[in-house]
Symmetry: D3
Subunit: 137 residues, 6 copies
């Protein structure tokens, strides 16, 4: 089995705050990330699929096809968006990097049909990233 | 003369739109950057100073001192902020990267007293950055 | 004056050899770069323009417009191409990184009309790059 | 068990096409990668070995020894080469990154004798890479 | 389960040599790393934890809390230090990157209480890094 | 004129302290950099030369030749060395990055004969670097 990874980029704004908490509780837990006027990041997203190379193409999956799926399912939904306000699937969810990566898995998984989805990695800054391997991991 | 450069980071949200224009004009010029719910970036800022190394220290300027100035004058003002709403000096200014870099020069210049401020570089994404060398350049 | 830089990528194959020389001379000067079956690189190209930000937009030049020019004038001509065989403007020229960067300047310069073209930087590997500032530099 | 990874570089030219297909089929599947005059990349290759540190040296394996093996077994065979024409072990194989990484495993595995070969990672561009953990993974 | 990774930096000096060996044996095995006047590196350390995001915060673990632990347990102990002389826990141990990563695990593990410590990665140069997953891996 | 830049690496140990000062003065100015047991860094050094491409080779200067000069004049002198103790030309000099870059210029300049030496850039960490353009800049 060989693992193939493709990277795409997007940037967005978000705010971390729990509406059931006081402002003080939000400040204590989320610090500057709770700023009510939003802040944002450049995100790198890496999708890894795994499988056996097809003898006719040498590919596990055509990387251009994977790029198209990532652009349509991730970039078009999140790029230059406000994760709290502009993304229906994130309504009512704290848009932490952890929760966003799980939602990205749900968007991508149905479209990986000729090999297996292995991992989604979401890089928030050069110092912080999260990885998700699906429900069964 | 030797040039010394120090990097710091911050992230913020902004929106590019001209209030004197129609929504269509804003969309045509600014595209996704005009999204009314904001978007954001991780920014890297590089400050370059120049001078002769001091024989007692070997330094043009103590890099820890430069870091302190950058944290106080740039990071505390812009980090996790909305450039359109949270930054008094940018009120009424289109917060393009070009205009932000010129404002950063104004904040930094008065504090570089033992050598010369040479350049401010502001990196918006891995594909776009701006540089400013002051009025006389 | 503010300087704005935009990056694009392409990859291609080339071979460095001087047809007026013997194989030995070519090997001595160009080493592995003279391999008759070609070799290749991922190239990063950075275009820098300079000017005053337009008060209506905050831009020296719209970075999306600059990206379009770079894709049309550089990427479409060089990406996944053989620089010795597939690029009419490089016919009869040794496709060294130095000569390619000068050709890129010729392609880009006529399309920078609202501000000034300042520099083209072409990165061949993480260890080697060239920069060109035009005829007058 | 500790995992040790060493990186080396090489660059080469290749072409992706299936000789049993028409030109149209090749274009449809491989796009620009089928260009008959070749294209190329800078590749980064990472070899990961695992084991217990030797109490006399603190090493799983001497990283300088690993570098020597990688230079001899990978770099000398692939650097500045045409993967379709210059590499006997890739003759008749589609030189996709997936197939090249499997061949690199075959070259490296016999020389890792004092600890275990764990993974080969081959980075084709900043946006695409593959990983291989051997037959049993 | 989601995996969260945080990076911190430090730099230090060390020397690799085995006091039970002759100078010749040390030179043969450790080469320039045995230089009796020390050498040093900039290190990047990545700590990965895993768990289920807390529904109240969206976090596996607050990344700011993880940063605080890493600064206190790793950076304060190793930054601008001589690993052979200044670090009590490394006395009598060959301060190879492999042995340092295992010591870092011992410092960090007791402080990860609300989720699980998964991996410590220690990057010595852009070409060499080690990873450790604990005793049970 | 075209500018060509080549990168090389080395790592070393140093200590910043002024022997004419008290320990307190040294601590105040140099902080952790004054640690008497040394600390170290991975350094990247970039040498930039400028000139007109030679019509026979397409080169300003053969990058392999430049690499050889850099390895002999910089890497062999500084790699895995203690800058305070092992480098005769730095004896009695505070081995700040500023002073080291000026010394590197002196080593390199005599060997750039067919084009002009333009700049030496020395990167100490991902956050700090210095540049030197020679006496006349």
């Amino acid at each position: 089995m060989v693992y193939l990874t493709r990277r795409e980029h997007f940037n967005g704004a978000h705010r971390l705050f729990n509406p059931d908490w006081t402002e003080e509780q939000n400040d204590e837990v989320f610090g500057k990330c709770a700023n009510k006027n939003w802040h944002g990041h450049n995100f790198d997203v890496f999708v890894t699929v795994k499988g056996e190379p097809n003898p006719d193409t040498g590919f596990i999956m055509n990387a251009h096809e994977l790029a198209k799926i990532m652009k349509r399912e991730i970039v078009e939904r999140l790029d230059h968006k406000n994760f709290n306000m502009d993304v229906p699937e994130l309504k009512g969810v704290l848009p932490s990097t952890e929760n966003v990566v799980k939602q990205i898995w749900k968007w991508i998984a149905p479209h990986i049909t000729t090999c297996q989805l292995h991992c989604i990695k979401l890089v928030e800054t050069e110092n912080i990233y999260v990885e998700y391997y699906g429900e069964t991991s």
